[in-house]
Every structure is written in structure tokens, then in C-alpha cells.
Amino acid sequence: MIFVEGQSLERRAQSLATGLVLPTWSFLLLVFALPLLMAVYLSVRNEQIGGFIPAVFIGIENFRSELSSPIFWEAFRTTFIIMSFGLVLQVPIGLGLALALYQQLWGTRFFRSALLIPMLLTPVAVGLMWRFMFDTDLGVVNWLLESTGFSAKNWLGMRWPAIWAVALVDSWQSIPFVMLMCIAGLAGLPSGPLEAARIDGASAWQSFRHVVLPMLRPVLLVTLMIRVIDAFKLFDLIFIMTNRGGPGTATQTLGMLTYNTGFTFLAISRSAALGLSLVIISLPIYFLWRKASGGRR
């Protein structure tokens, strides 16, 4: 009797849960699954808005032509360059700031609040403001460079400076996130191994390098995965700072290329193929993420 009771309770909980996730499922199907399926359909055809040729099924032709186009590979490289510049800046600085805050020095709460502020600011507003600051003639960045003896740069008008500028501003906004993750990671560290290191006479650097860093590895890995995924999603800042990937195609990432192909050149089938390629490229990172987070969720 008790057994039956337990079973029915279990079943009741199951049906309740199934009902509770129903709204979430409908959103996922309507706003993600349906568009993705439509993208697959579009990607094997040659639809072009305002095109004269009637659209037909052309198989993987879109993918083949994209993969053999230098523009695609340039965008691919740009995406990875911006991503790597960003990660090289974000991870060490974020970790460093987290360590500085971790000591609970006087004023830590003020510092933490102030440092978190850039994280959630409107990317469009941030992009415009930095665009103003990076202005060649009137920008405060060039003024600072010139008054400290460096030479002014045409930041947003040349390939490498523009890539640097975008990576810098993206880092400015994401370092707080990396810092936050590291703070949480540090807070969760057990004190046992550190005490052991102290008794063995390890210096601060040694205990950081050989005790803290290895224990922080899982947190750092998850942070890295999230930042890589975010780098594939980076859009607003580039849209605003360099007018959709300029100068020319210097800061045109894969996401920006997908946008320009679909909404500037109206080649919606090619845009869908590009978008799906972008998903396929970022998919391995998803599996790494799943693995790094212990396969849970």
C-alpha cells in the first residue's frame, strides 16, 4: 500500500513537472527550433529577395561556395583574432582583479561595485561612446597617446587598429564577468591545501601557482567556454563601432558576414547557410562546455 502511494506521488510529481516546462518548450520550439529548421530549408535553395530567377533546390551548393570563398575565411580569421585578443586580455586581468578583491582590503565593496558597472551597460551606447573616444581628431584616446609622447592612430579607419579597438571595448565590458566568476571560484576553495602549503613553507607565488591555480582550473575552463561562445555572438559593438564590419571588411566577423549577406545583400539563402556554418563551428565548444561543467545540464 505504501509502495503504491509512493509510486503515485512520484507520478504526480512527474506530470506536474511536465506541465511546468510546457511554456518553456513552446517558446523554444517557436523561436528557436522553427527558425533553425527554416534556415536549413533556406540554406539548400537559392532564394534571393528581389532576385529574378525563381528559387529552386540546389543542395549543398551554398555551403560549397561559402567554404571556397575568401570572404568567408577572412571573416573566420577575424572572428578568431578578435576572440583571442579578447581572451588574452580578459582572463589574466579578470583573475588579477579577483585576486586583488579576494584579499578583502579596505574598500573592497566599493571596488567591486565600481568594477562591475561596465558589464551590463547597453552595448549600443558603449559602442558609440568608445567610437567617440577613439575618434582620430577629437578622441580622448588619441589625445592621451599624443600627450604622453606616442603617435595618434586612425583607430577605426584601419584594419589592425580597428580589430584592436573592438577587442579592447569587448574586453572592457567582459572583464567584470571573468572577474565575477573568479571571485566565486576563489570563494569556493577549501583552505586545507593552502594551509598545508604554508606549513611546508611555500611562498605566496608558489602557493598561487601550485595550489590555487590548479584548483581554479574548472572555473576558469567554464569561464573560457562562455567567453568563446560570447565571442561568436559579438554583434552590437561591431555594428556600432565600425559600421557593420568596416573599414571595408576589416572587422567583419562570421556573425557580421551573416548579417550583411542576409540583410544588406538580401541573399537570404546564402545567409542561412552562413548562419548554420557558424552554429556548426561553435558546436564543438558547446560539447567542451558540457564536459567542463561536469556533464550536468
Partner: protein, 282 residues
């Protein structure tokens, strides 16, 4: 005795930490200060070289100009409306799902839901935009505020579910077991126990989702025209003008970012605990 005591021990470490923190705060806050100060400068001060950091006469001309255009007021109220309702929708839907995920270890669609939620977070929104544009056009919902609310809620949903799940998990399960023993129904447990205890987490999730909705750019820039225009799209509109009008642009940007800065500081504690417990565990 732990790692922080070591760092504190070394005076050089402490001095370096302060220098690093002060430098970082300066770099973090300067662009915000620069936006605010540009918004209250005259055109001449804005373009002066060397830049006028503090020694300028403040003027509120830019704000007056902004608020005297009915255009801007409409966009502002639109943004508030869309942000509010999409956030409400998103948080309600995500709380329900979060409860199921946090409390019921096995149910039919659990694994596929978890996988989908994570996968979807890895999909750049731009990939969905061409098909969404077609769907919205076919349904005659282009430039429609209700459509914006649903789309906004949907794109923020995976993140909200993830955050809410970590908050629900922090509520002790024993409370529910007691209520269950006392004969409360599933719905009663949800409304009388989980809901009240989940309020702080829901509030934090709400603020977080509201900030994301407030900042959303890709959806309104492509799927909205004049009727459903939002603040980020309005701000980006300053670019298309031949001469960038920095003063009013800085004023509009200030109005966009000041509330965010305020709320970020307000929820920082929850930000640390929610984001990290969710992220670190998975």
C-alpha cells in the same frame, strides 16, 4: 589562515593590488563619466582639444532637445513597456521550468530540455534572424510590440531558466516535504512555499533579464520600424546622420546606461551568488 593572508602579508602585494584596483576603476568608470559629461557640454566644449575633463560650464540643452521631441518620449515609453512585459513573461515562464528542473529528478522531457536550453544559448541570435523576419512578416507582425515582447522573452528565457534553477535549488527541500506530509497539493506547495521563498531570486533574475531586454538591439533593429522602436535603435540612429551629433547622442546614452549602472550595483551580491553557482556547477 588561507591564501589571502599570504597576499596581505607581503606589503608589495598589497601596494600592487591597490594600484591595480585603482587603475581598473579609473578605466572602468571613465567612459561612463565621459558619456555623462559630454551630455551636459556645449558643442564647443565637446570638440575642444585638449579635452575639457572638469572645467566646462554645464548645460542641459541636450536633454531639453531630447525631451522636447515627441519621437524620443515615444521611444522611451515603448522601451519601458516592452522591457517590462517581456521581463514579466520571461520570469514567470522560467520560474515554472526552474522549479521542475530543480525539484523533479526525472520527468519525460527533462534531458532533452536541458540539452536544448544549453544548445540554444550557444546559438548566435543573428542565425535566427532571416527566418524570424520571414515568420514575423507572414504573420503580419512586423513592427508589432506584442511580437517584440514574445521574442524578447524567448531569447532571454534559457538564461533566466538557468539562473532561476540555481536560486530554487538554494531553497531547502525539507520545507516542501513537510508541506507534502501535511497534505498540501503540488500547486499549494508551489504557491505557498516555493513562490514566497523564491521572491528574492526572482527579483534578481527579473532585474537581470530586464537589463538584457533593455539592451536588446538585434531584434528591434531588424524586426521593428517606427511603432515598436526601442532606445538602443534610437541611439544607433544618431550614426546615420552625416555629422555625428555627439551631445544629444550622449544624453540619450546616459539615459540608457545610468539606470543600468544603478541596478548593477544594487544586485551585485545576487549577481555573484546566482551567476557563479549556476555557472560553476554547470
Amino acid at each position: 589562515m588561507n591564501f589571502l593572508t599570504y597576499l596581505k602579508h607581503v606589503r608589495i602585494g598589497r601596494v600592487c593590488s591597490y594600484i591595480g584596483l585603482l587603475g581598473a576603476v579609473l578605466v572602468s568608470l571613465f567612459p561612463v563619466y565621459w558619456t555623462l559629461s559630454t551630455s551636459i557640454k556645449t558643442r564647443v566644449s565637446t570638440f575642444s582639444i585638449p579635452p575639457q575633463f572638469f572645467d566646462f560650464t554645464p548645460t542641459f540643452k541636450n536633454y531639453v532637445q531630447l525631451f522636447s521631441s515627441s519621437d524620443f518620449l515615444y521611444v522611451l515609453s515603448n522601451t519601458i513597456l516592452i522591457t517590462f512585459f517581456s521581463t514579466l513573461l520571461c520570469v514567470i515562464v522560467s520560474t515554472l521550468a526552474a522549479y521542475a528542473l530543480a525539484r523533479t529528478k526525472r520527468f519525460p522531457s527533462r534531458v532533452s530540455l536541458e540539452v536544448s536550453l544549453l544548445l540554444v544559448r550557444a546559438v548566435p541570435t543573428i542565425v535566427l534572424m532571416v527566418p524570424l523576419f520571414q515568420i514575423v512578416s507572414v504573420l503580419n507582425l512586423y513592427d508589432n510590440r506584442a511580437a517584440m515582447i514574445i521574442l524578447y522573452a524567448a531569447v532571454n528565457l534559457p538564461f533566466a531558466v538557468w539562473l532561476m534553477t540555481s536560486f530554487v535549488e538554494q531553497i531547502p527541500v525539507e520545507l516542501e516535504e513537510c508541506a507534502s506530509v501535511d497534505g498540501a497539493s503540488g500547486f499549494q506547495i508551489l504557491s505557498k512555499i516555493i513562490f514566497p521563498l523564491a521572491v528574492p531570486g526572482m527579483a534578481a533574475t527579473m532585474i537581470f533579464v530586464a537589463l538584457l531586454a533593455w539592451n536588446e538591439f538585434l531584434i528591434p533593429v531588424l524586426l521593428a520600424g517606427e511603432t515598436a522602436k526601442t532606445l538602443p535603435v534610437y541611439i544607433s540612429g544618431f550614426i546615420s546622420a552625416r555629422n555625428l551629433d555627439w551631445g544629444p547622442m550622449a544624453a540619450a546614452s546616459s539615459l540608457a546606461i545610468v539606470p543600468i549602472a544603478f541596478f548593477t550595483v544594487l544586485i551585485q551580491r545576487r549577481l555573484v551568488s546566482g551567476l557563479s553557482s549556476g555557472a560553476v556547477k554547470g
